[in-house]
């Protein structure tokens, strides 16, 4: 099948990561009282972004490899 699932996974989590990072930078610090003072949106947003980009990169590499072989 010619459909690499890592593309949508990569795009979705990159989007989530990006949104959380931006929100984390812009949001009021007071809302992080419940997350023990940690800006969890910023921190976890970066993790999600990294995961998303990594998945996307893997899919891209696989696609290039395949078209290169042809």
């Amino acid at each position: 099948m010619n459909f690499d699932l890592r593309f949508p996974i990569g795009i979705m989590f990159s989007l989530y990561g990006l949104v959380l990072v931006i929100f984390g930078l812009a949001s009021d610090k007071a809302i992080y009282e419940r997350s023990l003072g940690i800006n969890i949106n910023l921190v976890w947003g970066l993790v999600l972004l990294a995961f998303g980009v990594w998945m996307f990169w893997l899919a891209r590499a696989a696609a290039k490899n395949q078209s290169g072989r042809k």
Binding site: M1, M12, L20, S35, L36, I38, I40, N41, V43, V47
Partner: protein
């Protein structure tokens, strides 16, 4: 308890729905015939089927239920993973997948037809079809009720929304769509709950502080101090632990009968492995699934343990408390989400909960439409039709399956007893199943009559045992509904807990089926020749060779590593 989602949380949830539907839409063009719809054209790579295998099992009831058990029983709940899942998954991969995949059967009931006969298949197919519809309905009901209390959402709206989304993406892309979305759900669940566990554990002061905080939880209920943080130490007798089970009942009932019966014969999970693109990928599927499964206790049980520790330490106001003063364990996961997640990441965590719910439902629906179409419709109602017709039927079955589940959810919301009753009936039917498969795969002399009447006998054995046994805390039988807990013939056996009763019932059903199948098989003549059984029975099938593959692609090697790590985990948390 109420949670308020912000606009960002709703945006995250909506984005997720858009991706789920988008994947279904992208896969639409690959569905050309019934094999594409029901079996994904056997074209999916192992890492995808592996993660889908575990995700189909990771329904909302699992996430919410295991966190609840973590609070109620402590680390002992890990037995459902390290005893009650991993060994069976490795066994499925190493010994059973070659027959499921190699026989070219399209479903688990169809394997029974090839190996035994029509009646054995019919029995299994019909009971399985009914069961999947009802379990999907029950989980729908539980989830809608939860969303109702949590967010104040309308019960019916929750059910319709989730049912329509699952319906659309399965109609579009069939099993492939379900599998791909299960993988998306897997990552959503892992990445959504991990920060929650991190924050909760940090709040509790880390692992060793948590262990200290769990001491009063145990002692206040009359157990030894370490009961909530040691998984085996207190398994010596039924009165020493909150589960009310001792090690033998646990290992036999859960570890052997129930666990192998579920993981090795339930089409819901086996279907994922059958969709793999090669024999090697099919065999690796359960092993790839076993690796995250092994670590899931940290994600779903640990939060429950933290919640109960905080509950005790904080004077009993962490978890919502019911009228009788005991905490509402089912609210463990939602409470933690509300407690530690600010808006933004709350959307991620909440979407993860929603994802777990939809993956469980999609698993049931795809298993149902396949068994209905191939094993019931094509076999008994309308044989010899065109492939296009069966593809159409599969789509219809998806619609009807979901409608029936919605009906069951409604039924569950009206009559709680009926659902408990049905789940009990399913446990009667399921308990003996693994004996039939074990003898079918490893003993060529087992006959169709032996298998069918053995299964029937095993089921009756379970019913009979249930009529003779009752947990001691169940109270007397006053009206008919009280009989659900057992002992309705006469109370001959008394168990310390319902769980212990259930484990022994499973062991009795299995043994009855095992012995009866052997005896009846010896008394009846074989209907299938050795030649017909090639690819279906161990001794008549050429052995799988995987020497050419690197070690990490060999099921036996990786399976042994997984078992060793699981044993190590048991020892660490002994």
């Amino acid at each position: 308890m109420q949670v308020t989602l912000g606009w960002l949380d709703y945006l995250i949830l909506a984005t997720y729905f858009a991706f789920v539907l988008g994947i279904g839409w992208m896969l639409k063009r690959y569905v050309k015939g019934s094999t594409d719809f029901f079996l994904s054209g056997r074209s999916i790579p192992a890492w995808v089927t592996g993660l889908a295998f575990i995700s189909a099992n990771l329904g909302a009831q699992e996430v919410i239920g295991m966190a609840a058990s973590g609070a109620q029983y402590g680390i002992m709940t890990s037995h459902f993973y390290w005893v009650g899942a991993i060994p069976a998954m490795v066994f499925l991969a190493v010994f059973m997948m070659p027959f499921y995949y190699g026989s070219k059967a399209r479903s688990v009931p169809e394997y029974l037809k090839l190996r035994f006969d029509e009646k054995t298949r019919g029995f299994n197919a019909i009971s399985f079809a009914v069961m999947t519809v009802f379990s999907s309905g029950i989980s729908m009901h539980v989830f809608a009720k939860l969303l109702g209390t949590l967010l104040g959402w309308d019960y019916l709206a929750c059910i319709v929304l989730s049912a329509v989304i699952v319906l659309v993406y399965i109609l579009l892309g069939g099993l492939t769509s379900a599998i791909y979305n299960e993988v998306l759900q897997f990552f959503m669940i892992v990445l959504g709950f991990f920060p929650l566990v991190f924050l909760a554990l940090k709040d509790a002061g880390g692992w060793s502080a948590l262990k200290d905080k769990l001491v009063p939880v145990a002692t206040s209920q009359g157990f030894a101090p370490g009961t909530w943080s040691e998984s085996w130490t207190h398994m010596g007798s039924t009165i020493a632990n909150p589960m009310g089970v001792e090690w033998f009942g646990l290992v036999m009932g859960l570890g052997f009968v129930l666990s192998f019966g579920y993981w090795c014969t339930d089409f819901l999970v086996v279907q994922r492995a059958m969709a793999a693109n090669s024999m090697s990928a099919a065999r690796r599927t359960p092993i790839i699934a076993a690796i995250p499964k092994m670590l899931f206790p940290a994600l779903v049980i640990l939060p429950g343990m933290i919640a109960i520790a905080m509950h005790h330490a904080g004077g009993g106001n962490f978890l919502p408390v019911g009228k009788d003063g005991t905490p509402d364990y089912n609210m463990t996961m939602p409470t933690l989400l509300a407690k530690y997640f600010p808006t933004g990441i709350l959307g991620i965590g909440f979407t993860a909960l929603m994802a777990s719910f939809m993956s469980g439902m999609a698993g049931n629906v795809t298993a149902f439409n396949t068994v209905w179409t191939y094993d019931i419709y094509q076999s008994y109602l309308a044989p010899n039709k065109s492939d296009t017709h069966y593809l159409w039927m599969g789509r219809m079955a998806t619609v009807f399956g979901i409608l029936l589940s919605v009906g069951c959810a409604y039924l569950a919301s009206q009559y709680n007893n009926i659902m408990e009753m049905l789940q009990l009936v399913f446990s009667f039917v399921n308990a003996p199943l693994f004996a039939t498969f074990l003898l079918g795969m490893f003993w060529r002399r087992a006959t169709g009559h032996g298998a069918f009447f053995g299964l029937l006998g095993g089921t009756l054995g379970a019913v009979l045992f249930h009529g003779l046994a009752r947990p001691e805390n169940a109270g007397p039988i006053i009206q008919w509904a009280d009989a659900i807990k057992g002992g309705w013939i006469t109370q001959h056996f008394t168990f310390h807990s319902g769980m212990g009763q259930n484990f022994y019932m499973a062991a009795v059903a299995w043994t009855t089926c095992f012995v009866l199948t052997i005896l009846i098989s010896l008394a009846t003549s074989r209907a299938k020749t050795d030649k017909e059984l090639v690819g279906l029975v161990y001794s008549l099938t050429p052995k799988q060779k995987s020497e050419g593959e690197p070690w990490y692609k060999q099921p036996v090697t990786v399976g042994l590593i997984v078992l060793a790590v699981t044993a190590l985990l048991n020892i660490i948390f002994w």
